[in-house]
Amino acid sequence: MAGPDPMDAIRKTFFLECEDLLEALLEGLDALSTGSGDTDTVHSVFRAVHSIKGGAGAFGLDRLVTFAHRFESGLDALRTGRIEADAGALQLFLRAADLLGDLVRASRDGLPTDAGAEDSVLADLDGLLGTLPEEREEDLDFAPAMLAIPLDDDTPADAPAPLRLSFRPHEELYLSGNDPRHILAALSRLGPTEVTCHAEALPDLATLNPESSYLHWTVRCAPGVTTADIEAAFEFAAGLCDLEVTADEDPVPAAVPVPADPPPPDKNLPGAGPAAPPPAASSASAATTQTPTVRVDLDRVDRLVNLVGELVINQAMLSQSVRQGSLPPNSPVMAGLDEFLQLTRDIQDSVMMIRAQPIKPLFQRMGRIVREAASRTGKAVRLETSGEGTEIDKTVLDKLTDPLTHMIRNAVDHGLESTEVRRIAGKPDEGTVHLAAHHRSGRVIIDVSDDGGGLDRARIRARAIERGLLSEEADPTPSDLDALLFQPGFSTVDTVSDLSGRGVGMDVVKRAIQTLGGRIAITTEPGQGTTFSISLPLTLAILDGMVVEAGGETMVMPLGAVLETQTVTGADMDALTPESRVLRVRGRMLPLLDLGEVLGHHPRRDDLAGCVALIVQAEGGSRYALTVDRIADQRQVVIKGLGDSYGPIPGIAAATILGDGQVALILDPIELREHAPGARRPLAETMP
């Protein structure tokens, strides 16, 4: 392998940082919209866009630079108090932030973007700033700093008197990774600049504290340099130094001109390119209070997770062989083995925690979904979130985006009433969608609630009867009725809307959640709102499984899918047609499948007496019975992907390695049912 292009690595880092900056940007804008933001928030928002623009400039991403620049101008107007932080402006900034995110991602992946959206946001930004004087000098102050190109001297030279400034850095300036040298260099690039270093306060070497700030500077700026230029140069030093700007009348006393290379003796790298020595310079100011973190390639973490999985398997194999060695249970070997088991579990937990990520970025993305859905339906909607710090496995997190997006759109589209209806009901005009996450007994719970009208059960009932999902005389409980929402092809809204319609219903959401090993439930209060509750396992790497044997093979059934088990006597079995059989389970008839036969391990058996039937939950709340020869064990297994060495196998979700080193296949109860020979969808087996 040839050495990777160093620019590529820097580019990658830039885009990673962009994600953080975008997150900070949205967070700041959210804080401003809820009124909890202050001047610092405005500054941090501005800095985020500014940093993205800077990095984009260094990589020649012109389109991104152009957009970020216009966005920045808008934010600058907000920062300098030229416009008010009212709801309209913030809405626009949120839209611009969404679009900036799109542009960043499009630049990263080399994808095209929707120029129309860009133009409309830019037009609105112009409209917002319309009455304000154009701020052109921003172009000039920034480009040279990031691109490290010596700047032309064509700054308008009509300013009355050159500015003079006194710059006294605080200790924190150095601590945050800033360097006065870069700031002064940036100033000097605006034109001929006189910099004077004052070292009077410098103590002798014996008493010098190398981490203190002793030096201060006076600078006589080039003619034409404006206060805004200076502010821009000191952008990252704001609050970290004393800065006084005065108009220069008299010449500098005892001037010792320093050609933009002041004393602090360290590495010599002019310009603040993205690879400049203080790598965190741009983000440090925003993130000084955070605990230190490292960025690690996900592949490396996955490798570690795999290795620990190995360790767990190895530990199981070792225990198994030691136990077969018939050692006394209180022997030192057994005690050591117990400790080994404990340690392995601890390591496994710690490694899983590395993969765990806060759910916050996902919730933030939902903010955008709410905004878009709200503007298309014409409803006023506010998204509230809580428990954003809740951590969840990265893989689970990635796969949650689609179902959650769908549920949020549903909540806005179907859950919330129109403004008129809300007024009649005495509710505030603005509807609320609440996203909450928390941990409960080893699982992650995510609630999506709205304060809308609740589920219309009469309509659900009518629709279910119309669709043949429910018989006329059936009298289901309210919660059974609610569960009908998850039936395939069920939708109570007659017109397919642009938002949640698209021909997919909650059954798709449920399916997606189930593939993640999760469950979904509804609670609804007429007139008060609806809550969808998703419960997910903390990780996808480990599964609680039931180890079963069928047709001479050992397999694992996810424990979550098994509702109960029953020994088949033979008398509780009936043949419906030559192809299909049913099993009587406490007075109810369930379709019966023989696992060994479904998987082709043996031909059809007529006598299943003595087998164990697992009552398994399949799609849409339906159940079926799956016979196996024996239940061997119940244990946690490490999930191994079947890899892409060959295509997917119907009925098989993944594989695992058992204590004896053998590979066992993990069954997919839903697919097993769908691919079973001669068994199509259950007839009317819908109500649980």
């Binding site: 082709g600 295509g647 590979v663």
Partner: protein
């Protein structure tokens, strides 16, 4: 650049210069159905003893199942059956050649590995056009070494189709 520095003390030995690295190829040879086959040794990751694979439901017959290769789930292919030479009954003396091709790993089940052949790359001939012979499409070339003919497998053709084959 590979010229040896002449040793003034030694008499010049007329020695056939060894073939440069890129001009010869190493093949791992084994026997199937009485014929010698081989694979480019660069694609061989390891050779391991036989262990019973876990069968995959609804898989084509040549796919014997999967085994645990130090924590990775590795598919095992009965090479004899894949080449149309008939299913071989597994015995404890069989070996599994773990190969990697096109970013995929797979284990080839063969009776035994016979030899490592070093052949000049210009000794590799394109297989004759054997229309109708099922096995021919799996060969990338043939080579003579001594009196023996070895059939070099085209691993990308031997690998099972990536998708849909099992559905």
């Amino acid at each position: 650049m590979t010229q040896a520095v002449p040793d003034p003390g030694a008499a010049p030995v007329p020695e056939a210069p060894p073939l440069p690295e890129d001009r010869q190829i190493e093949l791992l040879a084994f026997h199937l159905g009485g014929q010698e086959y081989s694979v480019d040794i660069m694609s061989v990751r390891e050779i391991r003893g036989w262990s019973k694979p876990t069968p995959l439901p609804h898989a084509p017959g040549y796919l014997r199942g999967v085994i645990n290769l130090r924590g990775t789930v590795l598919p095992i292919m009965d090479l004899s059956e894949r080449l149309g030479l008939g299913r071989r009954e597994a015995s404890g003396r069989d070996v599994i050649i773990v190969i990697e091709a096109e970013g995929r790993s797979i284990g080839l089940l063969v009776s035994a590995v016979s030899d490592i052949l070093t052949v000049p790359s210009d000794a590799l001939d394109a297989p004759p056009d054997l229309t109708g012979e099922d096995g021919a499409r799996f060969l990338s070339s043939i080579a003579l070494h001594g009196d023996c003919l070895t059939r070099v497998l085209d691993l990308s053709a031997v690998l099972p189709p990536r998708t849909s084959a099992l559905i």
